[in-house]
């Protein structure tokens, strides 16, 4: 109240914008905008940096992978499963009624035309990101013959679709193209 008494503007029934009010709002707004602007770099520095983003594609030679075999490749520092499906595995995947699946997709939708035997998916469980088993010789392939995540018990089938357990989605299919025996991921 004391500083109101010292104001130089004549009070007109307590209405109207005084110069002091304007300066107050202008100063607080400028400080507020400045404060918010400073937060942007502080938050943005947490996003993946340019060098991390630069490693965004990988080429893998798949010529030596026999039917029934699978390998793990590295894409963005995460495992990618490249699997050469056997005819009976393709058949098993196609026999499933898609409507009954948690994440309905056909094998054809998850592979490239003319390369239906090449099942290329991220090796990252869609539950919490563990690497499922099933690529190596003798590893558990789960109840549906595809992959099995040991962390929380998710079972994937021969199209790497989620069939049982807590994972919400099928194993993610990354962008890739097949040129002869070379697959380019990313």
């Amino acid at each position: 109240m004391a500083n109101e008494a010292g104001t130089d503007a004549p009070a007109v029934d307590g209405e109207g914008v005084r110069r002091r009010d304007f300066i107050n709002i202008a100063a607080v707004s400028a400080a507020g905008v400045g404060g918010v602007a400073v937060v942007v770099p502080l938050v943005a520095q947490m996003w993946p940096s340019a060098d991390v983003l630069a490693e965004s594609s990988t080429e893998v030679d798949i010529g030596a992978i026999q039917p029934g075999q699978a390998i793990k490749a590295v894409f963005r520092k995460q495992p990618v499963f490249i699997r050469n499906l056997k005819p009976e595995e393709i058949e098993a995947a196609n026999k499933v009624d898609v409507a009954t699946l948690r994440d309905p997709q056909t094998l054809a939708e998850r592979t490239k035309e003319g390369h239906e035997n090449w099942l290329i998916t991220m090796g990252v469980c869609t539950h919490l990101g563990c690497v499922p088993l099933g690529t190596g010789e003798g590893e558990s392939k789960g109840e549906f013959g595809g992959y099995f995540c040991p962390c929380h018990g998710s079972h994937y089938d021969t199209a790497a679709r989620i069939r049982k357990g807590p994972a919400p989605k099928n194993l993610h299919v990354p962008d890739y193209e097949i040129n002869g025996t070379v697959v380019k991921i990313g």
């Binding site: 947490m46 996003w47 993946p48 940096s49 991390v52 793990k72 590295v74 963005r76 520092k77 995460q78 495992p79 948690r102 090796g123 990252v124 869609t126 539950h127 919490l128 990101g129 563990c130 690497v131 499922p132 995540c149 040991p150 962390c151 929380h152 018990g153 357990g165 807590p166 994972a167 919400p168």
Partner: protein, 426 residues
Amino acid sequence: MSFPWAKEYKPSHPFMVWMDEKLPLPRLVYNAVGGGYEVPRNINYLWNFGFLAGLCLVIQIVTGVVLAMHFGGDTRVAFDSTEHIMRDVNWGWMLRYGHANGAAAFFAVIYMHIFRGFYYGSYKAPREMIWLLGVVIFLLMMATAFMGYVLPWGQMSYWAAQVITGLFSAIPLIGDPLKEWLLGGFAPDNATLNRFFSLHFLLPFVILGVVILHVWSLHIPGSSNPTGVEVKTESDTVPFYPYFVAKDGWTIGVFMIVYGMFVFFMPNALGHPDNYIPANPMQTPAHIVPEWYFWPFYAILRSFTQNFLIFDAKLLGVMAMFAAILVWFFLPWLDKSPVRSATYRPLYRKFFWVLVIDVLILGYLGGAPAEQPYVLISQLATMYYFLHFLVIVPIVSSIERPDPLPFSITEAVLGHDRAAASDAQG
């Protein structure tokens, strides 16, 4: 604030008199944890865990700061520098084992402290704010412990980072970008390790700050006590110094024996051998489990295996896990009984012990593999956990007929309270 009969700080040395005029820090300490803080005379050993928790925080900060002098927060050197601490740094093995087991000790002490609160109704008015700040401290502790566990960059470290940040990807729409933002990449890597190191160093000091608020808000109503009856007269309290400093000193001795047993004779008993294998993003260990102090919450996370309505199982698990702690924030209002202590609440007391057994079962299940029958049992135990807080506590607190309370703390201790009785008559 304090009771009117609390002793006042009276410095006698001229320097302390001078100091008291310029910066009354000694006065603050005297009133907080000295002769100036009056404490109910009947508090039992369960009240010692708050002081022990403070000691654990100090142990963690001291050992942590010196460990940081030898550790490198970079994926190329983190694992090796941890081994360098173990093998080459003078007394490094003791500092690291002390820090790793210190985290476990901190949680053990905090769980006793929290369950003391559940039993004696410490969260009830006028102490709600103390309780709320305590839950905040617990959440900060969990974050700090998790990030610390990632630092040695062993297999368990790496997969803990992967799984825990994976929890955030369950959030609809923003989940995946949020996970990338937290990790600074598509999977845990150098950016992740480095920021976790930075935050792991920072958060203990944030915890210290909230602990100061916790103690500050405690000193407004004063400590609770096993009867739950508020302090009435001078005969109900004794000064913190020397009485409870001495009593806390005794439990510190007991604590140090147990802690020393772990650090010196079984330093890896609570750890996982897989964490002595360097992080390998291509290979998940066969059996990944968090540290024992996260097991009850981990069991709750894993108990959701079916989608429900629009929520998928993963999101439900994550929400339930966080809700298991967030529900504590509402406890002061869920428990409507005006009687604080379970000593005088025959029905609540039974359900308290059922909750203890339920949490122990969840703890066991969280460490067990994700198979039947463990999954089914953890579903039942999870259901009971939420039933306790959301249904049983509110209902019991409205229908229960409590036992008669003692007139005062003094009466509870001595069997009579002549001073207070004559006051009441006069």
